[in-house]
Symmetry: C2
Subunit: 888 residues, 2 copies
């Protein structure tokens, strides 16, 4: 017979901490605490399987459940020496939800269940004749049960309560007299009967089934569904129901209730941390009506509080609590978040669970616990959420500072920054050169804005998602960015932005918080990151545990240096086109593009060659001893085109050509779907002279570095957007030829690899033959996601919300790699590539290379490295270590 | 020991006709003719394996080859009673290439080999003392050998020849005296020695090896490589070398040479057809210096020629030739293209092969041969190239008419048409209503031009490829179209187009030939297609042999009717958006799109509903008894947007809105990559009211047809662009709900299927789970090709030529399905789909559905049907039959 109900209490339990899937988090931990011999009010857990059964069977229960619940209730009654419905000595219980993952406040709870017109008197007796307490408990029960189970409007009870208080001329609940409470109980019951057409249920068993049903139903309420969607919790998990003997923190001055953390959840310091209220029930602490008192004398003194700490007020209870919390932390080997109640001087534990903490605290606690011998290094590595490191690596807003939030957008790139508003990249650069701090505000950014993004402290856009150009580039540069702040209207002509009626002009100061997605008027104070020793130590442990290498996507010397500082083990993606947007060379690039003949293009490329060579000389110098993967020109040429009349005239002047002709040529280059257009290696096939120049720049730089610094660089030259082996063959022949020429001219031996991006479904499928020609694959999962889904990430914003809202996507596939679709292609390519060339080097260089869950996938598939923005390198190092540990 | 050389002649041979891979086409057929006992000059074939060996071993031969060639030469000498280098009775041979596939004129040939200063006298003797003939043969040999083997400039020999003729004051070769020829031979030899530094080789064996090497080398010459690329012939096949005893058609008036077809290659008529020249060598017929005479008396009389036919001039030879050609046709069971030589009254056969023929002839010959009992129906089906039917289904240019070709573009949609130039779709419609025939000339077309394309006789665009919008729509409508005529410059404002300096105004008449891709000034006479009985009979046989069904892509009543006439067995793709562009509804569609609220959209959809319902009522009426697959709205909404100020104002008026607001809303809908944007089922998820209206229109039409005509229609509703199962689930629920509502309201039971397009790589990979919800898959291989390759077909024109030129693509993947990449995805989807739902209906509705080689792939994968443009339905029927026959 299926066991639908598991009991706990009195130093033993049928469940255990590792049975969270069956018992929910709360139930499993109550069982575990019972097994540990800690003082837990006895009770039982109705399993999550009942919830599943309930929804699979049209809201009915397994036939055996009734008997099992009845037996469990009886056992609880025996243990506490009371009986359900026993007028003299009534058993009262709480009924609480408890899912596998914590969903605080999302589902329903009923306390004091078992009270009725008779048992309320019994409760008064067992509370030493405290009728006031008993009646207060009864009216709370009716209110809660009426609200949660019987769906009577909460406000109706509040109105009655306030009405009686007004009549009596009192303002606090505890000023009400016994008679007042009797009247309130009576009015509450009338209200229930009026609303439901039924008297308030007096049978405790009926009450219990009502509460159980309400908890199971609440699994599907709107709040819970929204919460699950936001936290990736499947509806199929279900919730358990915990029924537990009531203990009362509100039985007078020797009773109390409190919550605590075994360490400081905000700093991670090893101090017992929490609050309590004398003569109160649990929810009173949360409700914040009375100000809670601190637990320890030290903390009370530090904060200058008057009211006695628990340590001072109830030293024996505190000593017991200290013993319990230390036992719990040692047992669970993690910082715990606990709830307790003191009933007439006796401590009862109501909950324990791993405590939520800030990134900083997570780091400190993990490192401290290793030092304390409580956990291993590997465990410490698993204790820190990699993405949370972001917070530690960027300036943050001073939490004390006043904020005038004017708009919200997406938290596109973490960090906080203040500066003067500028509306163009050129202004950003100009003012930055004059020493001003600026925030670049644009509807959206394009590659032409990169110099301005570099110059700015932060970037704010009114359009675009988490993976818009602005967001991607900002994260790459480590610039804070808020994207898609939709309420902002920008008028470039007037040089102003307005948001819900407030107008800001160029030059006005604003602050953005890229971690929260907030935009504030004026300057808000920020705090600089302090990379404490803990961070460094954890990183060293992570490096010791990971298998995959971590490289960075970087092309500028600044980015490359940052990447090295953050521990990158090479460059996984140097986007050569980014080097083309520099002020001094864009003109030559435009000249190249607008030439309609090879000769004109070659002339322009001659001008670019020395600049590009110098780029590589610098880059190789910074990355000495590490691999550098260079992607040949990738984006559609028209991205580089001049748009303004002025820019067109400038190119026409250099080329001695008619601007009208230039304009026509530019319009010929227009594409309907540039993402699927004439780009990547297609440019290399059509205009071999471009890749030839780039190859020459690379090899000549290699030769120069060898000659001048004696360093041997082995560049990994990467061909973008290949769909066939033949493309690689043609371009590899070209690269080999240029290499031979440079080797001949320089008299040096050159070492290099030629490989390809795998960023098209066809390339993934044909990886077997492509690997015959390519020495390495780098998965370009941005493009691969676009083509596999047929979704342009630049355009996805218009329906992505609907898609997540309606559960089509669990997560934005441009942020977290889609294992089922894109992942299968990666897997196919890895397998087929390795079959042809067992030692093929495999990496990933899409945005996913910095996303922990995608990194875990890369570990599973056995890639050799991940490559991500410089600022995400520490995140990737940690995530790669976690993935390696979990794979074992 | 490998046999590198196979001999033939004297009524037997070591080879056979089915050994083409080893012997090449020519060699295999010479062997076959020998085996048949036909008069073939003896010889031998050096196999294609030697060619492969030659290129694998640095241009050297297998060690055994020398002996084998020597033995074979000796055997030939024995058979003809002559000796290689025998001064008295010399053996002379021809050395010819011969690959597996015919590559006419691409490789080198040497005739008269074996002549030298001594043997030339022996030849004179054996030619009855005709020294003139012998010397002429010798000078021809030196010239040919010098050119082909020794690489002496051809022109040098011509100069010498012309010089001597000038000196002698004669103009024709045959006016030269014996002395003249002696002088020429001497000068030729001097020229060779001057150019090569070596005397002209006198040793026949050295001559032979020189010629063999030249033929093998010519396999890799530029011409041959280009030809192979254009005709998909792999370099690995190699060529064979045929060495054969010379026979001479130029040994006086009883000698002759000729070429013939066993039936008329242009009409297919069963008449012996060909030409000959008395006293001439083979190349003289081809060279066209003398006008050849006809073979039969009947053909001579019919063409009014004076010169006697072979039948009259050499009746005995003709009788022998008649016996031979009939034997060949009966043996090969196909029309043959033969070459023969008559040496002093004796007939020699030099070549036979299947003859090239026009589409019309291919059809007639195939059908006739079935009637003659020569081939089976299945063989007849395989004898006609499906694509060639296109020529038979459209008007063609009168071949007699004079053409003033002004520009060339791509042969985008077959057929010829003349009409006045118009530059806008509206003008096309307006003038067509007035009874004018017009050609719509645009830089490119968009969905808004469809009414104009319908109204026009033909379409001409200056941009876009074979799969551009203009091309696809034109093929769908059966309108002739020339696309991407790049030299045409259109000035819409002036209403003129110019091409290489010539200017044409709106109203000027032009003609386009969509099969040739030509544009001509003025009206050129056309011939209407006559679908003869042969066509109908072949189609009936094809229908009897094919397994796959053939449906059509059609949405208008006209298209649906055409499709049915052409034998479509249902509609495989009804693009509902095409119904939205009609004049009377585009305004309501725009109103819907520009509403930023659901309410506004619903109001507009209410207006569209009755029109769309009427569309379906008509369509169902036409397609009675056949399945109709309806695709819900697919393209990005902005395709429907108003562009001109006038159009924007019109929508603003209807909506009582500010045109400026309309403009802003329209610009919000702009997408960077619309192909990957907010389209397909993404629209259905975001704006469920649109698909709801469409589902309602479909079901109400089903109900109306049922009620009014008593016909039961089972629509197959197709959800476009799904990437996940969840999308189907959400939209299927919506469709089911609407169906239930209409069923309830009408009191009728409704039958329908809900399925999906598989047009994204992810959908193909997840086909297993998608099939849980979808009752059928239709492969949308246009989009699937775009996403698998990451290539937008609208933008591919800019590099497609380079890609085909450089061998990256063998064929345009948008025309012929890429088996390796896209094909694997189709296969994966078919397998996974069937695993989940064994009876799942599988079809294809991309452009590939009308492409024979893609249809063959569909048969291999086991699809249930293909769907194509109405005008391609016969092609698909034939191709499907061929594929089914080949699969057996």
């Amino acid at each position: 017979m299926t066991k639908w109900v598991l009991s706990f209490g009195d130093g033993s339990a049928e469940g255990r901490a590792d049975m969270k899937n069956l018992l929910g988090g709360k139930g499993a931990n109550l069982a575990e605490m019972s097994n540990l011999g800690l003082p837990v009010p006895p009770g039982f857990t109705i399993t999550t399987e009942v919830c599943t059964y309930y929804y699979d069977h049209d809201h009915s229960y397994p036939p055996e459940l009734n008997d099992q619940v009845r037996a469990a209730v009886a056992r609880v009654g025996e243990l506490v020496g009371a009986g359900f419905g026993d007028a003299a000595n009534p058993l009262l219980v709480s009924v609480r939800s408890g899912a596998r993952a914590s969903m605080p406040g999302m589902m329903d709870t009923v306390l004091n269940l078992g009270l009725n017109d008779e048992t309320v008197e019994g409760l008064a007796n067992s509370a030493g004749g405290d009728r006031r307490f008993a009646l207060d408990s009864y009216r709370r029960f009716i209110q809660m049960y009426g609200d949660v189970v019987l769906r009577v409007d909460h406000a109706a009870f509040e109105d009655i309560l306030e009405g009686v208080k007004d009549t009596r001329g009192v303002s606090l609940d505890n000023e009400l007299s016994v008679e007042d409470l009797e009247q309130i109980v009576s009015l509450f019951k009338e209200e229930v009967e009026r609303e439901t057409g039924q008297p308030f249920p007096q049978d405790p068993e009926a009450q219990l089934w009502g509460a159980i049903g309400a908890v199971f139903s609440s699994w599907m309420n709107d709040r819970a569904r929204t919460y699950r969607r936001l936290h990736d919790i499947p509806a199929s998990w279900g919730t358990a129901v915990n029924v537990q003997a009531m203990v009362f923190g509100n039985m007078g001055e020797t009773s109390a209730t409190g919550v605590a953390f075994t360490r400081d959840p905000s700093t991670g310091e090893k101090v017992f941390f929490g609050e309590y209220l004398i003569n109160a029930q649990g929810e009173d602490v949360v409700a914040g009506i009375r100000t809670p008192q601190l637990l320890t004398k030290a903390s009370r003194e530090r904060s200058g509080e008057d009211k006695p700490s628990l340590e001072e007020a109830m030293p024996a209870v505190f000593a017991e609590l200290e013993r319990v919390y230390q036992a719990l932390e040692t047992h669970y080997r993690d910082m715990q978040d606990i709830e307790f109640t003191v009933q007439r001087g006796k401590l009862w534990m109501l909950q324990t669970r791993s405590g939520k903490r800030t990134s900083r605290a997570a780091l400190k606690i993990a490192v401290d616990m290793v030092d304390e011998g409580l956990i291993t290094e590997a465990e410490a590595i698993l204790r820190v959420e990699p993405s949370s490191l972001d917070q530690l690596l960027h300036p943050t807003l001073d939490p004390e500072a006043v904020r005038d939030v004017i708009a919200r957008g997406l938290p596109a790139s973490p960090g906080a920054a203040s500066g003067k508003i500028v509306f163009t990249a050129d202004d950003a650069e100009r003012l930055a050169k004059l020493g001003d701090k600026v925030i670049l505000v644009r509807e959206e950014t394009s590659p032409e804005d990169i110099h301005g993004m570099h110059a700015a402290e932060g970037i704010l856009t009114s359009r675009g998602g988490m993976t818009s150009h602005a967001a991607v580039v900002a994260r790459g540069m480590g610039r804070p960015c808020v994207s898609g702040a939709g309420h902002i209207r920008i008028d470039y002509r007037k040089g102003e932005m307005s948001v819900l009626g407030r107008v800001f002009n160029a030059g006005d100061v604003i602050t953005i918080d890229g971690a929260a997605g907030e935009v504030m008027a004026g300057a808000v104070a920020t705090i600089q990151p302090e990379l404490s020793g803990d961070f460094g130590r954890l990183m060293v442990w992570a490096d010791g545990h990971r298998r995959m290498k971590v490289r960075a996507n970087a092309e500028t010397p600044a980015d490359a240096r940052t990447a090295r500082e953050f521990g990158a083990e090479g460059i996984g993606l140097c986007r050569t086109e980014h080097m083309f947007f520099e002020d001094d060379r864009i003109l030559a690039v435009r000249e190249m593009i607008l030439s309609d003949r090879e000769k004109g293009r070659r002339a322009a490329l001659e001008k670019i060659l020395p600049m590009q060579r110098q780029d590589f000389v610098e880059l190789f110098g910074i990355m000495t001893g590490l691999p550098v993967t260079i992607r040949l020109l990738d984006p559609p040429l028209h991205e580089f085109l001049p748009k303004s009349d002025e820019d067109i005239q400038a190119v026409a002047d250099v080329m001695d050509a008619d601007p009208e002709h230039m304009r026509r040529r530019a319009s010929e280059l227009h594409e309907f779907n540039p993402m699927l257009g004439h780009r990547g290696c297609r440019l290399g096939i059509s205009y071999p002279e471009i890749y030839e120049m780039q190859a020459r720049a690379i090899f000549e730089a290699v030769a120069e570095v060898k000659r001048d610094a004696g360093e041997t660089v082995t560049p990994e030259i990467m061909i973008p957007l290949a769909a066939t082996r033949r493309e690689i063959d043609i371009l590899k022949a070209l690269i080999d030829r240029v290499a031979a020429e440079v080797a001949q001219a320089s008299g040096l031996e050159l070492h290099y690899l030629v490989g390809t991006m795998i960023e098209l479904p066809r390339a993934a499928l044909r990886a077997g033959e492509i690997a015959e020609s390519a020495a390495f694959f780098s998965f370009g999962t941005n493009d691969l996601t676009q083509t596999t889904f047929g979704i342009s990430r630049d355009d996805s914003a218009s329906f992505l919300d609907d898609y997540i809202e309606q559960g089509v996507f669990e997560k934005d596939p441009f942020v977290s790699l889609d294992r089922d679709g894109v992942g299968e292609l990666v897997q196919i390519a890895a397998e087929r590539g390795r079959k042809t060339r067992p030692d093929i080097k495999l990496g990933i260089c899409g945005e996913h290379g910095g996303d922990p869950s995608s990194i875990a996938f890369c570990e599973e598939v056995g890639l050799d490295y991940v490559s991500c923005s410089p600022f995400r390198v520490p995140i990737a190092r940690l995530a790669a270590a976690q993935a390696a540990i979990r794979e074992k």
